[in-house]
């Protein structure tokens, strides 16, 4: 049963075709990977799913209802939450307070939200940083916080935008375990990832985006052998587009 369905989703930035006629389905309980070279349009696609950008064409359907036109908070309240590629912690709030904001999406009283936030911090391994300010966090912790805040909202679908980028192998390994644990709790995950190790380890199915178009789809082991995919990535290396 498809939880999230995109059909012909397209976005232009001026003359630039950032996303072109992308269609796919995400089933409840799935862990779907989204890969593609830099500038392929992955983040733009997330912006459209999460309500930050309006598609120029196409439809996004979530749990049977159209999403286009809804504001980001509406979409979050319906159970789909996204993280940002460049982590955006609330800099002058404590880590706990950061997560409380997410938890308040589920409950009205701060007391309950603090309790939820505590659990989430425990789960994400940020518990001993609870009192630190957002601005004092290191990059790996910022990424964790990004995930923790999203989890605190109690999502049904988690949209993760490159949560592994910039982490060392140990950190990556721990985060992979964490995401697997989250998925194990029944949360559907759509993750954008450059770190192949993570994609291979986590995804049941992978979508490949190149120049805004879907060029391949399938199990990770098959997709990495796909000629078009290899070309897309090789092309990136030889042409050396913007980073």
């Amino acid at each position: 049963m498809s939880l999230l369905t995109l059909a012909g989703v397209t976005k232009f930035f001026g003359g630039l075709r950032a996303v072109h006629r992308v269609s796919f389905q995400l089933s409840e309980g799935e862990m779907l990977g989204l890969i593609g070279p830099n500038g392929a349009g992955k983040t733009t696609l997330f912006h459209m799913i999460s309500g930050f950008l309006r598609p120029d064409a196409g439809t996004v359907t979530y749990a049977g209802k159209p999403l286009v036109g809804l504001r980001p908070h509406d979409i979050c309240q319906r159970g789909m939450v996204r993280t940002f590629q460049v982590a955006r912690p609330f800099l002058r709030l404590s880590v706990l307070e950061n997560v409380v904001v997410g938890a308040l999406e589920r409950v009205t009283h701060r007391r309950e939200a603090v309790a939820i936030a505590g659990e989430v911090l425990e789960l994400t391994g940020l518990a001993e940083k609870a009192g630190s300010m957002g601005q004092s966090l290191t990059l790996p912790d910022r990424k964790r916080l990004e995930l923790a805040r999203a989890l605190a909202t109690g999502p049904r679908v988690l949209l993760l935008d490159e949560v592994m980028a910039g982490l060392n192998p140990t950190e990556t390994g721990r985060l992979i375990d964490l995401i697997r644990a989250v998925h194990g709790r029944g949360i559907t995950v759509l993750l954008i990832e450059h770190v192949m190790k993570a994609v291979m380890a986590l995804s049941q199915r992978v979508l490949v985006l190149n120049y805004g178009e879907l060029i391949a789809e399938g199990p990770p082991a098959e997709v990495v052998r796909d000629r078009k995919v290899i070309e897309a990535y090789l092309g990136e290396d030889s042409a050396g587009p913007e980073t």
Partner: protein
Amino acid sequence: MLRLGLGAVSGAALLILPFWIPSTWQNLLITTFYYAYLGQAWNILGGYAGQLSLGHAAFFAIGAYTSAVLASQYGLSPWLGMFVGAGLAALLSLGIGYLGFRFGLRGFYFILLTLAAAEICRLIALHLPILGGYTGLFINFTPNPWQFQFQGKIPYYFIALGFLCLACGIVWLVQRSKLGSYLVAIREDEDASEALGVNTFRYKMIAYALSAALTAPGGTFYAYFQFYLQPNTVLHINHSVDIMIRPIVGGMGTILGPVLGSFLLELLGEFSRTYFAAGVAGLNVVIYGVLLIIVVLFLPRGVYPTLVHWLRQRPGDSR
């Protein structure tokens, strides 16, 4: 425990103080409380929600004029008129907020919108005959507490203090509620808040309306403390600046910031008035301006947060 004791002692001091001090000092304290009150109201929108307003004089004036006109024309007690004023101020703020927030004005653009709205109010007020035009509106003195009019300074002292405590209480409650958490989140990062399910538009509107509604009774107080209202004073940009400046100096987004800021600026103002005003008009304000500049350069987070930072660091500091 220490804090509780300190609170009790200063509370008691504030209650008996007015009976012991000369009337100039009473005046000084009344002004301090009153500006701290207005600053606290501004703080909800500016300090917590991070939406700087340079047009709060408009809400102030609505509070002042509404209660004054309702009292003089219909005999309605300002104690009640105050609420009407608060309601009208909230309505105006919702209008301005709707425009500003729906159209996504941020930072300086929002500041200018609020400023323009207040200026339009000033120009309109100057041309409303019922408000006395350029001559202004005089309020007849009848020492009738039900008409918000009192003999001597002491009642005003307690009213101003009461207003301030009420505002601080409200902000305290806000700070401990979902509203407060959401407002600071919006201040820190609107997009990230939206992504976490915060209806930023709605919460900014709530903050604005609350801030405006609280500002208006400050105007009522002013009207019956000064007994004279003139658009070029109460609706002047400088008045909006006066309201905004105290929480910024004291520390935005904290309960004690506006209070401390108000005390400091009132003291500085009084200091420069007594020691420098005798000779030349303007010198005291020059000094005041210089002091403001010094605050920005050396205490850029505001006085209260800097103070807290120092107090936290010192004892544990091994250097």
